[in-house]
């Protein structure tokens, strides 16, 4: 173990170096460009054995990665925003072919208007594509999650996106504890592949045409694979915790046990929310935070267990769902709560779009809103935080 200063971009690139994937195919895009740049340097200096494919677009990055994974290689890439959106078509193919690939994604908003800063609309756009999605709070978690994701994807035979907030994390230097190269190699183990098109003696056909008689069955199988991921993620996370002392869970509860109000949030804002909770707790307020780390698979059971018994909950979406009623995290949480008896009163907040800063006082306002509700006042079910009227 060594203590170093790394931005999330650097931390993820270092994790990639230690993982030493067989193939990385990538195309630069702000703000994840650095990951690709740093990794190319590792390739140029011979610090990894990776075949680096500098493709001409993210569509081809995802395509080359999918081809490489189908050939039995351990494969990774990095991207952001429009790049992820351009990959969209391919991203539905990879999990259907049950190929383990890890994308280091830096969460940047989608055009238009064009903006390079943070929100989660890019990964939210991929929420039904069949990739696992892990959102991280800081550089350390970015680093740890990328390493964990390799194991998880190769046990689940499903790909995963590990995403970190643009600039707030991607370009912010932080103290992290890095594992030794051998520790990483030992943790991830030998690469596991479901099949390989390089086996010319046992030729298989990958990606055939499916008609009405089989498509549904194949999709059912893919869905089942996702349903089976929570215990895999927890097992890998626990083992990581036992060996290296850091564990994250599908969700993280912060001062929830005796709380009556909570914020549900993903990404770097979770850290700011914890600070706010500590301050409010000093004033005797019973508040807490639930950080959603795994958005896919959706951690329904963990969320319900954690929110059951709370009275007021605010769900924070760093994306606008454009559905006319709340954004993805809000609707998912709200839908999950339907099946528990003692449901909290739940409100949605859209915040931080296009990199809008989220200050402690903004999050305090959310708790203030919940307090108002507690005292009998009515507020909107879905709210916008930090936007000028």
């Amino acid at each position: 173990m060594k203590v170093v200063a790394k931005t999330a971009n650097e931390a993820m690139a270092e994790a990639m170096r230690q993982i030493n994937p067989d193939v990385v195919a990538a195309y630069p895009i702000t703000p994840s460009t650095e990951i690709v740049q740093i990794f190319s340097r590792f390739v140029a200096d011979g610090e990894v054995d990776t075949e680096f494919v500098p493709v001409e677009s993210e569509h081809s990055a995802a395509s080359a990665c999918t081809g490489a994974a189908a050939a039995g290689a351990r494969v990774m890439t990095a991207t952001s925003s429009q790049g992820l959106a351009l990959m969209n078509e391919v991203l539905f193919v990879t999990p259907a072919l049950r190929l383990p690939i890890v994308i280091c994604a830096i969460n940047r908003t989608l055009s238009a208007p064009i903006n390079i800063h943070c929100d989660h609309s890019d990964t939210m756009d991929q929420r039904d594509s069949g990739w696992m999605q892990f959102y991280v709070e800081d550089s350390q978690e970015a680093y740890d999650s990328v390493i964990q994701a390799v194991r998880i994807t190769e046990e689940a035979f499903l790909p995963a996106i590990v995403s970190a907030d643009a600039f707030i994390l991607s370009h912010s230097l932080q103290r992290i504890e890095m594992l030794e190269d051998e520790e990483v190699q030992d943790f991830i183990g030998e690469h596991k592949t479901p099949y390989s098109v390089l086996d010319v003696d046992n030729p298989i056909t990958v990606g055939p045409l499916d008609l009405q008689d089989y498509y549904f069955e194949h999709k059912r199988g893919e869905a089942e694979a996702m349903r089976k991921t929570p215990p895999i993620i927890k097992k890998v996370d626990r083992e990581f915790g036992e060996r290296f002392g850091r564990e994250y869970g599908l969700i993280e509860e912060y001062r929830i046990k005796d709380a009556n109000k909570a914020i549900v949030v993903m990404g770097s804002t979770a850290g700011t929310a914890k600070e706010v909770v500590d301050t409010l707790r000093q004033d005797g307020e019973k508040v807490g935070v639930v950080k959603v780390k795994a958005f896919r698979p959706w951690p329904r059971e963990d969320i319900n267990k954690s929110l059951e018994g709370l009275e007021y909950v605010a769900v924070m979406d760093r994306a606008e769902g454009m559905n006319g009623f709340g954004s993805p995290l809000f609707t998912e949480v709200r839908s999950s709560l339907y099946e528990i008896d003692k449901r909290p009163d739940i409100y949605g907040y859209v915040y931080g779009l296009g990199g809008r800063d989220v200050k402690p006082r903004d999050l305090k306002k959310v708790f203030d809103d919940l307090k108002k509700v507690e005292s009998g006042k009515k507020i909107e079910r879905v709210n916008y935080l930090g936007v000028r009227e």
Binding site: V23, V53, S63, Y214
Partner: protein, 309 residues
């Protein structure tokens, strides 16, 4: 590298029976001949299109070599990933066999929607062979015009109407576009001249780096002719010089097979229903225009060859 059919017939087919292409399918012939030339240790990536559809209707596959399809425009990117994996795994000692990597795409997946991915793959220098089976329109979706559709042809999106006589643009010269990538080997072939075509496949596979073959593969459905005429029409495309057979090796053009005497392009056009409207009196000038273009292009090719370019 002489192609000996008797020898080849012993190894058996790698594109087998039971696929669901139309009777008389030119592209199926193009694929089958290519695989016979390439042999068993070959991995194929296929773009979405007729050939992908008809050969792999789950749970049946006509392929006896490993095959992967993911999308329409990314066959080149997909095979570059497969090839990159092969390189990495070979370096790490996890695989030792020599393997051919071939991508197949129709003209839709190659000339048009897949051109960017193809260009990138060629430029990056992957050790792969891309074969475009060119049937001059989007046949899989029902005969729509493509960048490969010849001038004057009727398709469902360039219909011969009362005012507009079929496609009013010239086809793009993809073979030359790919040759401009300055890769080691580019060739044009047709399925009737199988010895020339299969020889080019073998030659391409013997060369390291990115290779491209554009093989004309008539489509009886979209070109509107009788199914038994597929080879005849492929041959006429060559003999009229509409589709010259040549290669560009390390930047140098060479005509690989030359028709002794050029047949008028009209002879080729008249067998195909897609050009039927050109034979109306008011459209005869279009045939002249096409002939003029064919002559010019041939002259250009001859000049390139003679100049050693």
């Amino acid at each position: 590298m002489a192609i000996n059919l008797k020898e080849l017939s012993k190894q058996g087919d790698f594109l087998t029976s039971g696929h669901r292409a139309c009777a008389g399918c030119g592209p199926a012939i193009a694929l089958r001949q290519a695989l016979l030339a390439a042999g068993k240790d070959t991995v194929v990536a296929n773009a979405t299109g007729c050939m992908e559809v008809v050969t792999t209707i789950f749970p049946y596959t006509a392929w006896k070599v490993p095959w992967i399809h993911s999308l329409f425009e990314n066959a080149a990117a997909t095979i570059s990933g497969v090839e990159a994996a092969y390189k990495a795994l070979k370096r790490k000692g996890k695989i030792s066999k020599d393997i051919n990597f071939i991508a197949f795409g129709g003209d839709g997946g190659t000339y048009d929607i897949g051109l960017q991915a193809l260009s990138g793959t060629m430029e990056r220098g992957h050790n792969i062979l891309y074969i475009c089976y060119d049937n001059e329109a989007y046949m899989n979706t029902g005969i729509q015009r493509s960048g490969a559709t010849p001038y004057g042809a009727h398709t469902t999106t360039s219909p011969a109407g009362k005012k507009i006589p079929g496609k009013t643009q010239w086809r793009k010269d993809l073979t030359e576009i790919i040759a401009a990538h300055d890769i080691p080997y580019v060739a044009q072939a047709t399925i009737s001249e199988w010895r020339d075509y299969m020889g080019k496949v073998q030659k391409a596979l013997s060369i390291k780096g990115p290779k491209f073959i554009n093989v004309l593969a008539p489509c009886q459905l979209g070109w509107y002719y009788k199914s038994e005429d597929t080879i005849k029409i492929a041959n006429l495309a060559f003999r009229t010089r509409f589709w010259p057979l040549y290669e560009v090796e390390n930047g140098v053009h060479r005509i690989t097979k030359e028709p002794k005497k050029a047949v008028p392009v009209e002879e080729w056009l008249k067998l195909q229903g897609r050009f039927r409207h050109l034979f109306k009196d008011e459209n005869r000038k279009i045939i002249e225009k096409i002939q003029k273009r064919v002559d010019e292009r041939w002259k250009r090719l001859k000049a390139l060859e003679e100049a050693g370019l």
